[in-house]
């Protein structure tokens, strides 16, 4: 039968996953079977996908991509790999969403932000002290390359205005609205929905403070607009933005983006 092992199609008459592991490597190797790390032996069938990984060993670059893909559900991964997503704003939401999508194996991501990394960003945004003073676009691109070098990362270090929305985001399937200011959120959502017929927008509203995690949700109030958050907890004096709720909201956005890439439009 034909199966895929470490990214290569092979013909084999081996019956089980562990027999294959013992043939290729040794008993201590990790076996990822159709995206799941198995502890018990499984019978192989036509078109199964396996990765046999030796713990602690550095892999060749030609095997790395298949290893990075090993935990992805095989047919799901093919669709995500075709995905093109633009992220507008690389703060607490956008930086964390970009990293999650990178780990998911998205094909192409556009990162848009005009700002540089400041010390006050480190309370919730995905940057380190070594990134201070760097444009957020470059700091994030650097990190994505360290997580998955096979993702195509485009960057545009500019401020999004009413006049450049089309020029910046045309050609992307999904725009992730991850700004801080409500006026900027409103502008992007309005202009993108008016000027771009097919684009879907995944926006955010309400994730400040430390209120219950459970009121953060995803809604679909308009045909091509999804909004994540609790819709009320605004960042203001006495109610700052904190990593846990910002990340919960970012997780909602990233998962909705993932669902849309897989052709699932409901929340």
């Amino acid at each position: 039968m034909k199966i895929t092992v470490n990214g290569k199609r092979i013909n084999t008459d081996v019956v089980t996953a562990f027999q294959l592991r013992n043939q290729i490597g040794n008993e201590d190797d990790i076996v990822i079977f159709n995206g799941y790390q198995i502890e018990e032996d499984k019978k192989l069938v036509e078109n199964d996908t396996l990765s046999i990984i030796t713990k602690g060993a550095m892999v060749n670059s030609d095997e790395l991509e298949s290893m990075l893909m090993a935990r992805h559900t095989p047919n799901v991964h093919k669709k995500i790999k075709k995905g093109k997503v633009a992220i507008a704003g690389l703060g607490g939401l956008g930086s964390n969403i970009a990293i999650m999508l990178a780990r998911t194996g998205i094909g192409e991501v556009l990162l848009v932000d005009f700002d540089i990394v400041e010390p006050s960003n480190l309370n919730r945004q995905c940057y380190n002290i070594s990134h201070l003073g760097m444009p957020k676009t470059e700091a994030l691109k650097q990190q994505i390359k360290e997580i998955n070098p096979y993702i195509e990362v485009q960057i545009k270090t500019v401020k999004v205005t009413i006049d450049n929305v089309y020029e910046l985001f045309n050609g992307y399937d999904i725009i992730c609205e991850a700004f801080d200011k409500p006026e900027a959120k409103s502008t992007l959502v309005n202009v993108a929905l008016e000027e771009m017929d097919d684009v879907k927008i995944v926006a955010a509203s309400g994730m400040a403070g430390y209120g219950s995690s459970n009121i953060i949700k995803t809604i679909n109030p308009m045909k091509r607009l999804y909004v994540c958050g609790d819709l009320q907890s605004e960042a203001k004096i006495g109610q700052g933005l904190m990593a846990p709720r910002v990340n919960i909201c970012a997780g909602h956005q990233a998962n909705m983006i993932l669902r849309l890439l897989l052709g699932i439009n409901d929340i």
Partner: protein, 64 residues
């Protein structure tokens, strides 16, 4: 008229802009769909609301 899923009765002819302002919406922080079409902000004053219309108003609060 149906607004964000709730039925309300319009007592007089009113344009979208005045309706939003009267109901304390901040025009700079919202997006509005009127009968399933996104309404450009410059059109708010030109849309006359009727009792069988559907409005979806999304308000954004700060933070990200």
């Amino acid at each position: 008229m149906r607004v964000n899923g709730t039925d309300i009765k319009l007592d007089e002819d009113i344009n979208l802009y005045d309706f939003l302002v009267n109901n304390n919406y901040d025009i700079t922080k919202i997006a509005v769909e009127h009968n399933s079409n996104i309404v450009p902000k410059i059109e708010y004053r030109n849309i006359m609301l009727k009792n069988n219309d559907t409005l979806e108003i999304v308000s954004f609060v700060g933070g990200g």
